[in-house]
């Protein structure tokens, strides 16, 4: 059995197990925490494609997530789109934005890419937060075009409230599970397929890869755009799940948290990021009472793992 087929079977098996969870543990808290895990899981698997597999040091990934979330909220709020239509549209908007960012940043290499993508993300954040001119005036008060500091709320939901009543969160759980399954299978196919080979070749030896006809800008734009689709979709689902979108999605601690998941699990591996996401979310749950010590712990975990275990937990097996 090929490695790709094994991974896909594994993904289906995990998904089947997770699908049974709501039947066993019914509490709303656990179910919504696992739903959040699905969202972060999608983001880190896609970020890992860019960062670990293709070796592009992009820090704009959270900005793309935010674009997905904001696009959903704005389409639903201003355009009165139903969320089911707004979500895929928002994912396409994210792809377009990622291609634009990629075209500006990916001509550069290594550290330049990291700095420029970080700066682009920061600019998007500043434009959202600093815009104070009222675009519309709903009953709740002045609302700038991009929602300002307050962000968007009350832009509809996925319709599970009518369907399932107070158990609507279970509906969200299955949507999240489905999206994560799709995102992970997409990753497996990409990593194990010919495109993944091209991405890895460009990461490991760009000069040799280019001399064999693998165009750097073209393939890096591919991986950037492809991973942006699910990243945007994750953002869109985040908006639908919580019903609010605010500038908190740009926060540095969120970026740190997700980056730590990838590093702890193992950059560039198929299952590492999801393993890291599960572990760090569980650890975060335990550290919740400690407040600011959480940030210190997170920073230390990130630094210690990079220093002592740069291949992450998945790298342990190969030693």
């Amino acid at each position: 059995m090929s490695a790709g087929r094994r991974d896909i079977l594994l993904a289906l098996g995990f998904a089947a197990l997770l699908a049974m969870v709501p039947l066993v543990f019914g509490t709303r808290y656990i179910i919504s925490q696992i739903t959040l895990f699905f969202i972060w899981g999608i983001v880190v698997t896609q970020w890992n494609l860019v960062l670990g597999v293709a070796g592009i040091f992009s820090l704009a990934q959270m900005a793309l997530f935010a674009i997905g979330a904001y696009a959903t909220a704005m389409l639903a709020y201003y355009g009165a789109f139903p969320l089911l239509a707004a979500m895929p549209l928002a994912a396409l908007v994210t792809v377009a934005a990622s291609l634009l960012i990629g075209f500006a940043c990916l001509r550069l290499k290594g550290a330049y890419v990291a700095l420029l993508t970080l700066a682009v993300a920061q600019v998007i954040y500043l434009i959202v937060v600093n815009d104070t001119a009222c675009f519309t005036n709903p009953p709740s008060g002045c609302l700038p075009l991009f929602g300002g500091v307050r962000g968007f709320s009350r832009f509809g939901d996925l319709g599970f409230r009518d369907l399932l009543g107070s158990k609507f969160y279970i509906g969200h759980y299955y949507v999240g599970l489905g999206l994560l399954l799709a995102a992970q299978i997409f990753c497996i196919i990409l990593i194990r397929g010919p495109l993944g080979l091209a991405f890895r070749a460009l990461r490991d030896n760009p000069g040799y890869a280019m001399s064999r006809g693998v165009g750097r800008l073209r393939y890096q734009l591919w991986v950037f755009g492809l991973s942006a689709f699910f990243t945007g979709l994750a953002g869109a689902f985040y908006a639908a799940n919580f019903g609010v979108v605010g500038p908190i999605v740009f926060s540095v601690s969120m970026l740190l948290f997700l980056l730590a998941m990838i590093v702890v699990g193992g950059m560039g591996t198929v299952w590492g990021p999801l393993l890291g996401a599960a572990l760090l979310m569980a650890a975060d749950e335990g550290l919740r009472e400690f407040g600011t010590l959480r940030e210190i712990g997170l920073g230390l975990v990130l630094a210690i793992f990079v220093i002592l275990l740069p291949r992450g937990l998945s790298g342990l097996r190969r030693r």
């Binding site: 290594g110 330049y112 970080l118 600019v123 740190l256 980056l259 920073g299």
Partner: protein, 292 residues
Amino acid sequence: MEIFIQVIASGLTLGAMYAVSTIGLALVYSALNMLNMSQGALLAFGGYVCFYAMETLGLPAPVAMLAAMVVGGGLGLAIYLLVARPMLGSPMFETQIFIATIGIGSVLQSVVLQLFGPQPKAQPLNVPGGVSLGGVVVPWQSLLILTIALAMLAGVAWLLGRTRAGLAIRATAQNRDAAQLMGIRIGQVYAQVLMLSGALAALSGIMVSSLSGLLPTMGADPMLKAFVICVVAGLGNVPGAAIAALLLGLLEAIIQYLFGVQYAFAILLGLVIGVLIWRPYGLFGKRQVVRL
């Protein structure tokens, strides 16, 4: 004319402030290929140490600034010993150190938050009043910042250009292996560079906070701007970074005047991306020829 002088004065002040922290970053990158993402936290640390020394201990301003620079240098040394040195030999050093310093930066920033709390504070190092230049009042504070920054830049230029330690730093930056073969202790050079960069960051933090106040997160914005300046100049180009810092400071002041403060950074960044598409290795960077 009056507005012109005002814009120039505030632009030069901004540029001088950026230049001090930017040359620290550029030095570290040129010597170690290391992007120090904890620079922002070092800035905040410096500002708070100066605040603590003056407000709580009642020390005079020059002593407080010196104390902040010593603490900044110490933190730089600690980052070298604990973070950079263990992974120097790794083939993915550039990526790893980048991620590790993001973590360290978050730790340092949280420590500041724990020690001093989240409320904004005023930096006590503040000179009131101003001097009239062509009908425009330029605050003493700006002139002080400009003077200190220029003195600091001159000091670093002297250190790099005229001393043996500076020669060793430049040699290491140019070619690590050759420098090592010539008997330079590159470990020592790395430690010196990070200490120098930490001290410069602390000083820059004092300047920034004397204008905009102290906050645990105050370093993030100047750090990002310093990085952007480094990228415009060409990463690791130290004199280029100083010139680019002054240029971008002026440009920022002009954009702020013409289009308003909230869009200054966005417009600046648009220009930077334009520059990079035109010259991918920065304004002053050299195109590198890679041998396969």
